[in-house]
């Protein structure tokens, strides 16, 4: 409750053009947002670009934020749209959502990341190998804290379709974990 009040105050200050308030507000979701974008596109540099674009749009658009949804949902919806726009634009060249093999290779590359434990690798590879829509829904659900109804609005898909994506995503994740006897 107190957290929400503080967030509302920060939003109000952002509307008045206080960049420090915006910094404080974004810091709360910095990691979730960046992780979401990184795991969605599978590339750190691309994720940074998308993060930058998301922040610009959030700063410009905060005046139109209507408090009808949680701020985190609003912010992640922007991030999702930015990623989808970027994906559509770059589709002609090549998908930013690289193939599973490439993505797996990237995650197994010792130069791209620090040492990962086995479980982390399993989960990340499993998530990255998910089909696009399933990954979108799964990541939104896990990182934004949005309800399925909100995800349905953000992805412009029916609620049942969103639930279906989540179901299949989770099945694949569990399958990967079962193979390694984690669950």
């Amino acid at each position: 409750m107190e957290n929400n009040l503080l967030e509302n105050q920060l939003i109000k200050r952002c509307r008045n053009g206080e960049s420090t308030a915006f910094t404080e507000l974004i810091k709360r979701y910095r990691k979730q947002l960046f992780t979401y974008l990184w795991r969605l596109c599978g590339d750190k540099l691309e994720a940074e670009d998308l993060m930058q674009e998301t922040l610009i749009k959030a700063w410009k658009g905060i005046l139109s934020y209507k408090h009808e949804s949680k701020f985190s949902s609003w912010l992640f919806t922007i991030a999702h749209n930015v990623a989808m726009d970027y994906y559509r634009k770059s589709k002609v060249r090549s998908s930013i959502f690289v193939t599973d093999e490439l993505r797996a290779a990237d995650y197994n590359n010792p130069h791209t990341e620090l040492i990962r434990n086995e479980l982390r690798d399993i989960l990340e590879c499993a998530v990255n190998s998910l089909p696009e829509k399933q990954r979108e829904v799964f990541l939104l659900r896990e990182h934004s804290g949005m309800t399925f109804k909100e995800i349905s609005v953000a992805t412009k898909e029916p609620l049942n379709t969103v639930l279906g994506h989540m179901h299949y995503a989770m099945e694949k994740l569990k399958k990967a974990l079962r193979v390694k006897n984690v669950i």
Binding site: R15, R30, I56, L123, E142, T147
Partner: protein
């Protein structure tokens, strides 16, 4: 507790997320809890799903460097927000379509008023500028207009329906063929004015030439009808007649040229 694969179990597979999210009503929750207590497959499904999620949720989140993050924020907040600027100037609430009120913020009154004044002046200038040629024609027409002594325009042209905007301007200080034929511009001008023939009519060409000829002929017949012209000064009437005759010739010539 036993393994089942009933229709209820099938339904639970599609409802498991609502169960995890806790978006069930109390009645629904109690129903599913009682089912889970007796169905091992559904219980396993729920446990696996929750465990998988918790494993994923426990993964360390990715992060970007503080330096990059600060640069991003700086760039983002440096972006101009036009909507914000205008909302500050006019204190328009963001959801203006719902509030129905626009209040002027005293702090921005001066900026608002000066912006509005500038916009109005600009708008007026933009409206007036395209009309400038027409206005010029109108004013020139007004300044070159001379009082008519004997005959008005309708008498000369026959109908007198020429508007100032429709009449092309005669070039200033240019002596026409008619004037050369007479040889005396002052006399010619005087004659024109005294007969009521406006120079626009005399210099008129194109489709209305015939109308002008008719008008001038009409004037001539009126003059001819005046038996007592000699009593009022022969030179004046002779000049008028001469001017009209020359003008008729010129106009006929123009008519012929235009018909060719």
């Amino acid at each position: 507790m036993s393994f089942k694969n009933t229709l209820i179990c099938e339904e639970f597979r599609s409802e498991v997320w609502r169960y995890i999210d806790g978006t069930f009503s109390e009645e629904e929750r109690s129903f599913w809890e009682s089912h889970l207590s007796s169905c091992l497959s559904c219980k396993m499904l729920l446990d696996e799903t929750e465990k998988g999620l918790s494993l994923y949720e426990n993964l360390e989140l990715e992060d970007l460097s503080d330096e990059n993050f600060d640069l991003m924020l700086k760039k983002a907040t440096g972006a101009k927000r036009f909507l914000q600027y205008f909302s500050q100037v006019f204190n328009i609430k963001t959801r203006i379509w719902k509030t129905n009120s626009i209040k002027l913020n005293p702090a921005f009154n001066k900026i608002a008023l000066s912006t509005a004044a500038f916009a109005i002046v600009l708008a007026v200038m933009l409206i007036i500028y395209p009309l400038k040629p027409k206005i010029n024609i109108y004013f020139k027409e007004e300044t070159t207009k001379e009082p008519l002594n004997t005959l008005d325009d309708s008498d000369v042209s026959g109908k007198g329906n020429n508007t100032p905007a429709e009449i092309p301007l005669r070039e200033e200080n240019k002596i026409t063929d008619t004037e050369k034929a007479i040889g005396n511009e002052e006399e010619y001008t005087e004659a024109k004015h005294s007969t009521g023939i406006k120079h626009e009519t005399m210099d008129w060409g194109g489709e209305k030439v015939k109308k002008s000829i008719d008008g001038v002929s009409n004037s001539l017949s009126i003059i001819d009808a005046k038996d007592n012209w000699k009593d009022h000064g022969m030179d004046q009437w002779a000049m008028k007649t001469k001017a009209i005759s020359v003008e008729i010739q010129r106009l006929e010539k123009e008519l012929n040229n235009s018909s060719l």
